[in-house]
Structure formats: C-alpha cells, structure tokens
C-alpha cells in the first residue's frame, strides 16, 4: 500500500507539472472496481475502470457498435476451416511509462501469450497469483475447450489454434477479459515478490494510464502520451465513485462531475430539463423475459404458453415499469443486434383469444407461480411490479398467480433447477454483441439442467440445430439467415414471454463532446473532449 502511494506521489508531480490548464474529465461512476486486472472479474464497473481505460485487446469493438475491428493486432487471418486465427501485431505499441514501471520494449507476442495462458493454464505461475482467483469469463466463453494452442510465430505474429470452428471467437477476444497485459511488468512484479500489484497498480497499452486509486473514493488516470491510436484530447480522467444515483445526479447538476452513469428512471425528465445538461440515450443490448418451465405440465404445451403470452398486456408493463425508458420485446435478442428478425410477428394481446386457447388445451383453474427477482437490473427496473401486472392480466383469463421471490443469489440458483415450479422473470445483457451470446447461452440445449442459464429448460432440436450450425459458420450472411430462422422457431414455441428491452441513458454536461455510448453498456472515454 505504502509503495503504491509513493508511486502515486511521483505521478502526481507529473500531473501537477502539466499545469492548472490540464483538461480534466470527471466521471461519477456507480461503484468501486473489484480490482484493476479485468480477467478475474465479471462486473461492468470493473471493466470500465480497467479494461476500457488502461488496456487494449487484439481486436476491439468499434466505438459505438458491436463490430469487431483491429486493435493491438493490425490485421488477422482466419483459416478456411475456421480452426486457425493468425494475428499480426501492430509494431511500435508502447506500454505505459509510469512512476512505478518503465517498459524497455514494445508490445510483442510474448505479452499476448502471457495474457491468455495465465488464464487457461492451471500450472502457469500467474494462474493463482492471488489465492482464490478464478477466470469466470474465460471459462464462461468456453475458452478452455475452444483454444487448443497459442503459438508465437514471430515477435509480432501470434497464432491461435482452435479445437473446433467458433464463429463468436473474434467477438470474444474483444471482451475485457481478453485484455493484453505486459509480460515484462509481470516478470518485474514476480521478481520483486509483488505479484498482487498486477491487480492494484496496472500497466497496459490503453488510452489512459493509471495514476492512483483511493479506495471507494477516486480513481485517477492520465492520458497515455504515446498511445498507438493517438493521444486523447483530455489530459486527466477522474472517476468519482458515487454509489447513490440521486447523489450522482446532484453532483452532475452541481458541476462536481461532467458525466454520470445509470441515472434512476424517475430522474430522466428532470435531467433532460436541466439547461446545462444533455442526456444521450440508446436502446440497451438487453432483454427482460418471463421464462416458463417447459418441462412441467401444462407449460410443456406450446399452445398454453402462447395463450398466457396472449393474456399479457406488455405495453402496460413497459409504460408502468419502464416509465417510457424501454420498448416491448418480441424477439429474444434486441433490435440493435445484427440478425434481429423484424419479420417476426409478436403474439397479440388478446385475453379473449387466450381464454379460448386455454380451453382448447384443456386447461382450467390453473394456478401458477411467477417469480420476481428482488433486485433492480439494467434490463428490469422493478420485477415485483411487473409480476403484479402479470398477475392481474392472468387473473382475467382465469389463471391464478402467486408471486414468489428469493434473495438474489438464491433466486439465480433456484431458477435454474429443472423441477422448478412457475415462471421466472429475468433478463440478460449482451457480453459481446454476438447473437450466440443470447440464443445459445439462454435457450440452447447445452444450457438446460441444474445451473444452466436456460431457465425455460427448453431444448428444441430444430432451434438448437440452427444455432449450433450458425456457431460454426463463418459466413456472416449465412449466420444471419440461420439466426433469423431460429427466432421464428422461438416465437412459434413461446418458451418465454419476451417482455422488454430497456433504454440506457447517459446524462452529461453540455461541455462534454465526443462521447459515444457503447451498446454493450460499458463506459468508454476515448475521443471525449471537454470545453474549458
């Protein structure tokens, strides 16, 4: 700790030398990062503070889109069989020179191999550099089974050999967990017996270099002078950690910060009305749904599920719960995602038709549970209220609903149990912009069973074949076609009631320019400027 302080002290001297005219952007963030190594963590707050600021990846999501573009790799080639990815690294990429580390060489293949092997190889000296560490995204994106080998071809060329074709592989490499660390820095920390500092005082190639972190209070960064994509326009970036959304709003209005994350839906109007502020908005890459347990009668019948979906007034839910900050969902993927099938016709709101359909299916006097999660999530502002509205709608077609809730961790666990009674309200925010990240993770056959994310326990061969085929197909047009077809099957079978896609808001001072919202929900300050 003392060491980190000392280092920070000298960095501050540099900051001070930059003069009082330095352009400083203050971002009111919603929480503290768990650490500064993005690989062991899963929280967006941590990625904002590390992956997106300090580090880069071989490929990146193009600003404001989910398109994958070259990053630290200036080009890449994919073998015809989809089993080999060869990355040509950008020459002359500089790591941060800080008060605590001076790199002696530019980025090379060793850094790339180190960054992946430490996660994938349990025998790697850095695999457990802090006791109890684990690499959940690396495991979650199936990297241990997908990557067969990572080979150094030459100093600036790295080859990934895969065990099977994997179309979302490139998108996965653009995620924060795949950030490239400095092997030279790691060697230095190891030699000095300070390996834990990899997670405390990071060194990367990213647009901003880390200066200091005062726990739960402030994170300070400085523009990376030798950034390969060009130095940022702002000199200093400060994260002022402010957990309460109402207080973040007050700070923004009082000019104590220039930009804030996650405003409360109820405050949006007031923020829009403030003459000093601008509020950017964009549809979130998310979906909220109600998943029936399709293995339990009578929810195993598609016509029963359809009937219940017909009984549900989704517009009323969007109006009451999202308060104008969302849109009705008809597909399991959001409209901003490629391959979204707009030709899909949603189940109409038709309580009379629902009653008739239930009668035809021989269902009468049905009692069921609707599970409402106990927390607010970016895709669902108020699950309890949603459940109450569903309860009211279902009662009109003779279905008696009791609302059930558990503590969040329990909820997540119990909702995956195959024998679960009742339908579950839950949702998902995309990790990498690939439809596979929604369709396979949430609705694939492999995700059913205890602990899987397929809460509908829905395993439909026709649907699963389509998404499996799309996963190993590299032609984007063909993948699009397959996913579009899969969405038709989904709507025919109705394993979920697709509820809504929420809108994400980003309020900021009118002095801020060049901010681009990220559809993946991270907060990225490259290209941002601030008027004096």
């Amino acid at each position: 700790m003392k060491f980190a302080h000392l280092l920070a002290a000298s960095s501050l001297a540099v900051m001070a030398a930059a003069g009082a005219n330095a352009k400083t952007l203050v971002y009111c963030s919603e929480g503290s990062p768990e650490g500064f190594d993005p690989a062991p963590y899963t929280a967006g707050t941590t990625f904002d503070a590390s992956g997106k600021t300090v580090y880069n990846r071989l490929v990146e999501f193009d600003r404001g889109t989910t398109n994958v573009v070259p990053g630290l790799a200036e080009s890449y080639e994919v073998a015809a069989d989809g089993l080999e990815y060869t990355f040509k690294l950008r020459p002359g990429v500089k790591f941060h020179t800080t008060s605590f580390f001076t790199p002696t060489r530019d980025l090379n293949a060793d850094d790339v191999i180190f960054s992946f092997m430490r996660q994938g190889d349990p025998a790697h000296p850095w695999h457990q550099y802090v006791p109890g560490i684990s690499y959940e995204y690396y495991a979650g994106m199936e990297m241990p089974t997908v990557i067969k080998e990572i080979r150094k071809v030459d100093d600036l060329t790295v080859k990934f050999v895969l065990t099977r074709p994997e179309a979302p592989f490139l998108a996965n490499l653009a995620m924060s967990f795949a950030s490239i660390l400095s092997k030279e820095y790691a060697d230095k920390l190891e030699a000095e017996g300070r390996m834990a500092d990899m997670n405390n005082v990071p060194v990367g190639t990213g647009p901003f270099k880390f200066v200091a972190y005062q726990k739960d209070a402030v994170i300070r960064y400085q523009a990376h002078e030798d950034y390969w994509a060009g130095r940022e326009k702002i000199d200093d970036l400060v994260f002022a950690i402010t957990t309460d959304p109402a207080v973040r709003m007050q700070k923004l209005q009082a000019g104590e910060c220039h930009i804030m994350s996650y405003p409360a839906p109820a405050d949006i109007e007031a923020l829009k009305a403030d003459p000093n502020l601008q509020v950017m908005e964009q549809p979130g890459l998310n979906v909220a749904y109600l998943a029936y347990n399709t293995t339990i009668a009578p929810f195993d019948k598609p016509e029963v599920r359809r009937a219940l979906n017909m009984a549900m007034n989704k517009q009323a839910i969007v109006d009451a719960v999202f308060q104008g900050t969302g849109q009705m969902a008809k597909n399991p993927i959001p409209p901003t995602m490629w391959s979204y099938n707009d030709a899909v016709e949603d189940v109409p709101f038709d309580p009379e038709g629902a009653k008739k359909l239930l009668e035809e299916a021989g269902v009468s006097g049905l009692s069921m549970e609707v599970w409402a999660m106990p927390v607010q999530r970016p895709y669902m502002p108020n699950a309890r209220r949603t459940a109450e509205l569903i309860q009211e709608d279902f009662s009109k077609v003779g279905v008696d609903v009791s609302i059930v809730s558990y503590e969040w961790g329990e909820y997540l666990k119990k909702s995956t149990e195959p024998g679960r009674q009742g339908a579950v309200i839950l949702g998902w925010t995309g990790d990498n912009g690939d439809p596979d990240n929604f369709l396979a993770v949430l609705l694939g056959c492999a995700a059913t069973g205890d602990g899987g994310a397929n809460r509908a326990q829905w395993c439909n061969k026709e649907f699963d074949d389509l998404i499996q085929k799309a996963k190993v197909t590299s032609d984007p047009a063909e993948r699009t076609r397959l996913y579009e077809e899969a969405q038709l099957v989904f709507k025919r079978e109705n394993p979920w009631a697709t509820l809504a896609h929420s809108t994400v808001f980003m309020p900021m001072s009118k002095k801020v320019s060049g901010y681009v919202m990220d559809p993946l929900g991270t907060h990225n300050f490259t290209g941002v400027d601030i008027a004096e």
Binding site: M1, H5, L6, A8, A9, L12, V26, G31, S32, E34, G35, P40, T42, V130, P131, G132, I133, S134, E136, A139, G140, A196, N199, N200, A212, Q214, K215, D216, A217, V218, V238, A240, I241, T242, T243, D244, A246, V247, Q250, K251, Q253, A254, E256, Y406, E407, W408, G409, E410, L412, K413, T416, L426, G427, V441, A447, G449, D450, G451, G452, A453
Partner: protein, 335 residues
C-alpha cells in the same frame, strides 16, 4: 483502580468470543453465496460451483472454518477479501481513518450542541425553549437518516449551493502519502484552500450523523440536570446565596454530566451504525460503505473481519468510558 481495570478487561474475553461467533455466523446465516453472485444470470453448474467453493475454502465443515478464522486472528490475519483479493485488515485500515474523522466530528458536534441544549431546557423547564428543543430532539431521534441526508443535499448543495454534494475534498487536492485523516492532511499540505475544502465536505455528513446522538444527549442531559437540580446540595448552594450561574455550572452540571458521559460513550456504537447509511449517501469512503458493499457481495471474510474490528473499536471505547466513569465518579470505583 487496578482491580477495577482487570475486572473490566475480564469481561472483554467472553465478549470477544461471542463477537467472533456472531461475526462469523451472521453473514453465513444470510441466504445466498458469493459464488452464485459472481456467476450472475449466466448460472453456474454444480461442478463449477463446487470447484470455486473449494478454492475459497467454503467446502469444509463450518466449525473447521470457524476455528481457522479464530486461529488466524491470533496471528493478525483477518483473511483475504473475496472480491478485491486484498487482506481484510489492509482494507479496514485504509478506510478506517475516514470513518474516525467523520465519527469524531459528529460526536463532538452532538456533544457541544446536545449538552447545552439539554441543560438550558432543564433550567427553563416547561418554557417554550424547553418544549421546542425537546420536541426537535424527538424529531431528530426519529429521523430516517437516508431521507434526512438526501434532503440536506438537495437543499444545501442543490438549491443553495453552500456545500459540496459528496466526497471528502475537492478533486483538485490529492494527498497520496497522507494519513487518511483529511482535515490533518489538508492542513499540513500547505495547499491553499485544501483545509477549507475538507471542512466544507465534512459539514453535511457530520450533521446527518450527529443528528440522532445529539437528540439522545440533549434529552439525557435534560433529565440528568432536572434530577440534580432537585438535590439537597443544590438547594444548599442556592441557600448560600451563590449566583444561579455558579449553582448550575459548578454544583449541578458536574454531577449531571456523570450519566451523560456514559450516554456519549454509548453513542459511539450508534455513530458506527449511522455511519453505514451516512457514508453510503455521501460517498464517504469509510468502513460503513465498505461493509454494505461486502454484505451485498456476500464477501464473508470482509464482513466477518469488518464486524469484528468494528466491534473491537466499540468495545475499546466503552472500556475507556467505563474507566473514565470510574475516574469521575469515585462511588463506582470503590463499589
């Protein structure tokens, strides 16, 4: 006096053991576990869950975990935070100065305002001053801290713009080698405006945190003072022809303060509890906010270590108050 001290210390041992059990058991009684929260909506297979639980040591019998926890405590090891992977003690010591600073200012504020308020209310018993001040104290005592904090922010920071919204000091100032006590760091830094900025940032959170203790101290001072004012020696002092000021300040107040000192000591526990909410509202980087984060993440080592350390601080303060009580009240010492 030594026997008195030893007697007090002997009480601390069973209390300490009790606290280790409560601290250890409390967080485990809460439903949910950190591994499930880590996995989130993605879910986690039973195998992976078992693997991660084993890695964190949660797969062993609960009593083994408890004994290890207590055993490590004797070596000064409070464990590693599941979230940040840092030693719990380091995290606590980093954040504790912020809580001490806020707590001390709040208790001082509560005492400096609460005692005179209670004493005057007692002297002017039944007057409009008594009615208003004690009524206000009752309102203060019943105030929901979260709502009160937000209200003050909206009024003083939002509308009047007199105080900053949150934080400990303006972001311009930064003392990487500081002690963590912002008032002190700002003062010795010599940077112009730093100390004023730190004071301005302290005003609202300390007022919010002081509200309940202030109400309690005021009410306690009033009833203690009323009791003393009815005593024979006060009547004697009056009969001797002493000025009302001397009667109150020398003869009555000194005796009335004895129970008030205990009350102030007990308020340290209240301030610790209040700090949890106050720090959350004002983004004050202290242990209250840290505990809330750790509980919501089911970070067992941080919660149990944090609780134990907080309880230890409260116990120490209570011990000091008990000793002080013995010093100022010879009857206790000799009983």
């Amino acid at each position: 006096m030594i026997r008195f001290l030893l007697g007090k210390l002997a009480y601390l041992i069973p209390t300490f053991i009790g606290i280790t059990i409560v601290a250890f058991g409390f967080v485990r009684l809460l439903p949910g576990d950190p591994v499930l929260l880590l996995a989130g909506e993605r879910g986690i297979t039973p195998e992976r869950h078992a693997e991660l639980s084993a890695q964190l040591g949660f797969d062993r019998p609960i009593w083994v975990q408890y004994l290890e926890f207590v055993g490590n405590l004797f070596q000064g090891d409070f464990g590693l935070s599941i979230t940040t992977k840092k030693p719990v003690l380091t995290e606590f010591l980093t954040l504790f100065p912020a809580t001490i600073e806020l707590g001390l200012v709040a208790v001082t504020l509560a005492t400096l305002i609460g005692i005179p308020l209670g004493v005057f209310a007692a002297i002017k018993r039944g007057s409009w001053f008594d009615q208003i001040s004690m009524g206000t104290a009752l309102v203060g005592y019943s105030m929901p801290i979260f709502w009160w904090g937000l209200l003050l922010i909206i009024l003083f920071s939002g509308i009047l713009k007199w105080t900053p919204v949150s934080g400990r000091i303006d972001l311009l100032y930064f003392f990487p080698n500081g002690t963590g006590f912002m008032l002190y760091d700002a003062l010795v830094s010599g940077q112009s405006g730093a100390f004023t900025s730190a004071v301005r940032h302290l005003i609202l959170p300390s007022v919010v945190l002081a509200t309940i203790p202030m109400a309690v101290i005021a009410r306690q001072s009033r009833s203690a003072m009323l009791e003393v004012l009815g005593e024979d020696y006060v009547r004697t002092a009056r009969a001797k022809g002493l000025s009302p000021f001397r009667v109150v300040s020398i003869h009555a107040l000194r005796n009335a303060l004895i129970p008030v000192v205990t009350t102030i000591g007990l308020q340290v526990g209240v301030v610790m509890a209040g700090a949890i909410l106050t720090e959350t509202i004002f983004s004050w980087p202290g242990i209250g906010k840290w505990m809330i984060d750790s509980i919501s993440r089911r970070d067992y080592p941080s919660v149990q270590g944090g609780l134990l350390l907080m309880a230890g601080v409260v116990m120490m303060v209570n011990l000091i108050v008990d000793l002080l009580y013995g010093v100022i009240n010879p009857r206790i010492r000799h009983s």
